[in-house]
């Protein structure tokens, strides 16, 4: 294998001893291709019958989009099964050999569905010549034929009441795709075992509720996710961390959310004041002997560019809490900053030289 392209499919596996021929250096692997997770077998090996070398390649192939779409036309009952036998061929775990579909399965699929492709100007995949597959019960060659247990629809399909398959993305999309309209029935989130956003009625998988990432427009899926003590605050991932450890410069939440937005520019209308959060309280920064380097540090911490201007303004709000920077700082006042955007997005070398 060292000298053949086989190396990839082996992944450097010891099975690849040079004395083997290129063809049988692959081994059985679990099927991960979503389309074919409901087959009567769950191991495959590559290359497959379409020339794809890995499941990844098969998953982004033209055929992995073509067959599920074609299944919806109901041209052949076992078309999805046939498609999977060539996309992720069955692997015999004893012999590590591929088990092909029977020629009859291929021929039935082609006879009934090729013409449907023709209607939209597409061709049946070139390298699925049915003659390469053995006849059923041919001499000591095993091959695959569908039995009653075979699912006509893939896991990416919804099965209409009539038995037809439509793509799962068409379920409850407001347009009836099943001839019996069953894809637009029982569309409530609860019926589909999904969680409903109270305001937008959007349906969400349970796995994304309280996972620290808002999905509902009003973030309701991230509310009431934990019950912290009075002296604790809730992290974005719903852990509870004591209040005095917020913005202390050390991450205490696993997702570090206790250290987010600790230095901000307040969104006042007439000017932007530098705000620092300490123990989850917003503070104006008092500026006894403010230095320009602190302006630069503050702007950099906020992900902004160099400060364009720093001004000292006498205090305006009496009851505002102050965060004193250094004990020997005398004058109490507020220092607004205005930071420019980082110098980005310019391409001086691309300047066109006029002739």
């Amino acid at each position: 294998c060292l000298y053949s392209s086989c190396l990839d499919s082996c992944g450097g596996n010891s099975l690849c001893d040079p004395s083997n021929s290129v063809n049988n250096c692959s081994q059985c692997e679990p099927i991960t291709l979503e389309l074919c997770l409901n087959l009567p077998y769950n191991h495959t090996n590559f290359p497959n019958y379409l020339g794809h070398r890995t499941q990844k390649e098969a998953s982004i192939s033209w055929e992995s989009s073509l067959f599920p779409a074609l299944v919806q036309t109901n041209c052949y009952k076992y078309l999805m099964f046939f498609a999977c036998t060539i996309l992720v061929p069955k692997c015999d775990e004893d012999t590590q050999q591929r088990i092909p579909p029977c020629r009859a399965l291929c021929e039935h699929s082609k006879e009934r569905c090729e013409s449907v492709l023709g209607i939209v100007g597409l061709q049946w995949p070139e390298d699925t010549d049915c003659n390469q597959f053995p006849e059923e019960n041919a001499d000591n060659q095993t091959c695959l034929m569908p039995d009653d247990e075979v699912e006509e629809c893939s896991p990416s399909h919804f099965k209409c009441r009539s038995g037809r398959c439509v793509l799962a993305s068409r379920r409850c999309d407001g347009q009836a795709d099943c001839d019996d309209d069953s894809d637009e029935e029982n569309c409530g989130c609860k019926e589909r075992d999904l969680w409903e956003c109270p305001s937008s009625k959007q349906c969400l998988k349970h796995t994304v509720i309280c996972d620290g990432f808002p999905d509902c427009p009003d973030n309701m899926d991230e509310k009431n996710c934990s019950f912290c003590q009075a002296d604790e605050l809730e992290c974005a991932n719903h852990e509870c961390v004591s209040r005095d450890r917020w913005c202390d410069g050390e991450a205490d939440c696993i997702d570090s959310s206790d250290e987010w937005d600790c230095v901000t520019l307040s969104a006042n209308v007439n000017s932007s004041f530098l705000m620092a959060r300490r123990s989850a309280m917003e503070h104006h920064v008092c500026a006894d002997g403010w230095q320009e380097t602190l302006s630069q540090l503050a702007c950099k911490q906020m992900g902004l560019g160099e400060p364009s201007m720093t001004k000292l303004i006498e205090e305006q709000e009496q009851d505002q809490q102050w965060l004193t920077l250094h004990s020997n700082w005398e004058i109490t006042s507020v220092c607004p900053l205005s930071c420019s955007l980082a110098d980005c997005g310019r391409r001086p070398a691309a300047r066109m030289n006029k002739r």
């Binding site: 991450a251 992900g303 955007l341 980082a342 980005c344 997005g345 310019r346 391409r347 691309a350």
Partner: protein, 241 residues
């Protein structure tokens, strides 16, 4: 890039090449600050170890070293925690370089959009990369102009996938200009009045780019991730622990 044209050196100074031996160029990437690069999470599938990666800046021809070239090793790879390999959603990652780059005319960061700066359909933007051209893999950086299309229209092209608000779609119905394999992680940038370029998308996925059935390219929507990007850089730059 399908249907594009060869770029001139220095035209896209934020464009970088994410490389790993023995294959060399694997994905595109985008410089956003002296020590930080954006790309897509799916480029690291099966190769999450930072030590096997390097990032190259300031080049136009992958095969010709340029005097403006700078190469950095990778210190940290930050995959988005919600990246989903199965549905290619949350397809974004941040790369911390082992050292700052030297900012020159040929190696400079692009601007990030502000969290409320979204991209409207029918806006014209540029995509760039060293990805497949349809008939060959190029050595020279390619560029192409694409038009942003609405998510609803985009969804109509992709039965099997769900287009989410973490994505942006761009391209033409005729599929003339499109991104392709090898462009992943590269920029979709739009020019603001005043000549500043802003990064709105990272090449993520799409239909099989050189097959008969064409559709728009799908890009990770950088505006959606700006807050997350800033926080990741902040906690790795300023926190004490």
């Amino acid at each position: 890039i399908l249907g594009g044209r060869t770029s001139r050196p220095g035209r896209w100074p934020w464009q970088c090449s994410l490389q790993s031996e023995p294959s060399g160029h694997i994905c595109g990437c985008v410089l956003i600050a002296k020590k930080w690069v954006l790309t897509v999470a799916h480029c690291f599938e099966g190769r999450e170890n930072a030590a096997v990666w390097k990032v190259v800046f300031g080049i136009n021809n992958l095969d010709h070293p340029s005097t403006f070239m700078q190469m950095r090793l990778v210190k940290t790879i930050i995959l988005h925690p919600r990246y989903s390999r199965a549905v290619v959603d949350y397809d974004i990652s941040i790369v911390e370089l082992s050292q700052d780059i030297n900012e020159t005319s040929y190696v400079r960061p692009v601007c990030l959009p502000s969290p409320d700066q979204s991209l409207e359909p029918d806006t014209y933007c540029y995509i760039t990369g060293w990805g497949h051209m349809g008939n060959k893999m190029p050595f020279k950086l390619q560029e192409g102009e694409v038009r942003v299309i609405s998510l609803e229209q985009c969804q109509s092209y992709f039965d099997m996938k769900t287009i989410t608000n973490r994505m942006i779609c761009a391209g033409y119905e005729s599929g003339t200009v499109d991104s392709c394999m090898g462009d992943s992680g590269g920029p979709l940038v739009c020019e603001k009045p005043g000549g500043q370029w802003t990064l709105f998308g990272l090449t993520s996925w799409g239909s099989v780019c050189f097959s008969k059935v064409l559709g728009p390219g799908v890009y990770s929507n950088v505006t959606y991730f700006v807050k997350w990007i800033e926080r990741q850089i902040y906690i790795r730059t300023f926190l004490l622990n």
